[in-house]
Amino acid sequence: MNEQALITDAQSGNLDAFNTLVLHYQDSVFNTALRILGDEDQAADASQEAFISAFKSISSFRGGSFKAWLMRTVTNACYDELRRQKRRPTTPLEPDTDDGEEMDSPRWLADPNMTPAQQAEADEVEHAIQHCLDNLPLDFKTVVVMADIQGMDYTEVAAAIRAPLGTIKSRLARARLRLRECLQGFAELLPASYRLTTDITQ
C-alpha cells in the first residue's frame, strides 16, 4: 500500500483511496476508541465519526505520521462522545443470562482458540486493565493508550495530542504508576509473570 499516494488521492476527493486507508487503520482506530471509551458500541460510533471527520479535513494534513494525525481525530471523537455522555448519561444494556443476570463476557466476543477457562481468565485480566484505564484522568489515558496499547513512539503521541515531548513523558510515567497501583488490587487475577511486587512510591 502506497500510503502517500492514497493520501494525495484522498485529498483530491477520491473516496475509494480514503476507504483503502480506512480498511488499513480501522482496527487501530477502533481499539484506541475502545480503550478510551471502554464500550464497544460507543467506540464503533466514535470510530465512524472519526473517519468521516478525517475525510472532511484531510486537506489539512500536511505530512508527517498519518497514523498520528488519524489518532488525533479519533481522540477528538472520543472526547466529544465523553462530553455527550456527561450531558446525557445512559445506562448500558448488557446482555442477560438465562437467570436474568448481566453477562460480563458475551459469547460473541470470545476467542474460539481459547479454552473456556483461558477465555475466562483473559476476560478477567482485560476487565481489570480496562477498569484501571477507566479510572485514569483522560489526558493520562489517551497517552498510555497510544504509547503502550497502540505502540506509538513519543514523537507520534506528541503529534497526535499536540503536546510537548516532556509532557508526554511525564503523563506516561504517571499513568503507568497509577495503573500499577490500580492493578495491585487485581494481583490474584494477573499471570504470575506479570505480578507487581514493590511499592514504588515508598
Binding site: L15, F30, S47, A122, A173, R174, Y194
Partner: protein, 237 residues
C-alpha cells in the same frame, strides 16, 4: 523514589533517554535495588497493556458518498443552466406581479406612472359622443313619428291594433334619446365616472408573450438540470 526518578525509569524503559542519562541511570540501577524493582513493575504494567487483546473492528468503517455529503461531479454547463433557470423564473413572477399591480397603481396615483391617461382618454370620447348621439336621436325621432301620424287615419282599427306596438316602440325610441339628451347635458358631471368604468382595462405593461418566453425557459432549464444531474449520478455509479 520521586516523580523525576519515575519519569526517568519510564523513559528508559521506552529507550527515550539520551546516552548520558541512560548511563547515569544504569549506574544507579546497579546499586539501588528499589529502582530495579520499580523498573520491573513499570515493565510488567507496560507488558500487560501491550498484551491486551486487539479487538477487530466490529464492522468496516468505509465511507459512502452519502456519509460525507459528496455529490456527483456535474458538467461545466450546469451552473449556466441553473443561472438561466433562476433568472427566467424570477422574471416570470416579476412580470406577473407588475401586470397585476399596474391598474391598482394607476388608480392610486393619477399623475404617477401615466395612470391618469386612460381615464382622460376614456372620459373625453364619452363626453363628445354623448351630444352627438343625442343629436342623432333628436333628428331621428320626428322621422319615425311622422310616418306613424300620416298612416294612422288610413288604417282600420285592427290595423291600428297591430301598428300600436310599432308606434309605441317608435315613441319609446323617440323618448329615450330625449332622456339621453338630458343625460348628455350632465355628461361632465354624473355620467362621466360611469362611462370611465365601462372603458376596457388598460393593456398589460409587459406583454404576455414575454411571460410565455420566461416560463418556457424556466421549465426547459429545470428539466435540463434534472437530466444533467441524473446522468451525472448514473455515470458516477
Amino acid at each position: 523514589m520521586n516523580d523525576h526518578d519515575l519519569e526517568l525509569l519510564s523513559s528508559y524503559l521506552d529507550g527515550q533517554l539520551s546516552l548520558s542519562d541512560s548511563a547515569r541511570l544504569e549506574s544507579r540501577l546497579k546499586s539501588d535495588g528499589r529502582l530495579v524493582s520499580a523498573l520491573d513493575d513499570l515493565r510488567a504494567a507496560r507488558t500487560l497493556l501491550r498484551q491486551l487483546p486487539k479487538r477487530r473492528a466490529p464492522r468496516n468503517f468505509t465511507l459512502t458518498r452519502k456519509m460525507v455529503g459528496l455529490n456527483p461531479p456535474l458538467p461545466r454547463s450546469y451552473p449556466a443552466f441553473r443561472f438561466a433557470t433562476v433568472v427566467a423564473t424570477l422574471l416570470f413572477f416579476f412580470t406577473f406581479g407588475v401586470n397585476a399591480l399596474a391598474p391598482q397603481l394607476a388608480q392610486m396615483s393619477p399623475f404617477g406612472m401615466g395612470g391618469g391617461g386612460p381615464e382622460i382618454f376614456s372620459a373625453a370620447p364619452a363626453a363628445t359622443e354623448a351630444p352627438a348621439f343625442a343629436e342623432a336621436a333628436a333628428t331621428e325621432a320626428p322621422a319615425t313619428e311622422a310616418p306613424a301620424a300620416t298612416e294612422a287615419p288610413l288604417q282600420s282599427a285592427s290595423d291600428l291594433a297591430t301598428l300600436m306596438p310599432a308606434t309605441q316602440e317608435s315613441a319609446r325610441i323617440a323618448e329615450t334619446p330625449m332622456t339621453k339628451i338630458g343625460g348628455a347635458e350632465n355628461a361632465g358631471g354624473v355620467d362621466q365616472p360611469q362611462v370611465a368604468s365601462e372603458s376596457p382595462s388598460p393593456a398589460p405593461i409587459i406583454p404576455s408573450m414575454w411571460q410565455s418566453v420566461f416560463a418556457v425557459i424556466a421549465i426547459l432549464g429545470a428539466s435540463l438540470m434534472a437530466l444533467l444531474r441524473r446522468s451525472a449520478s448514473n455515470r458516477w455509479k
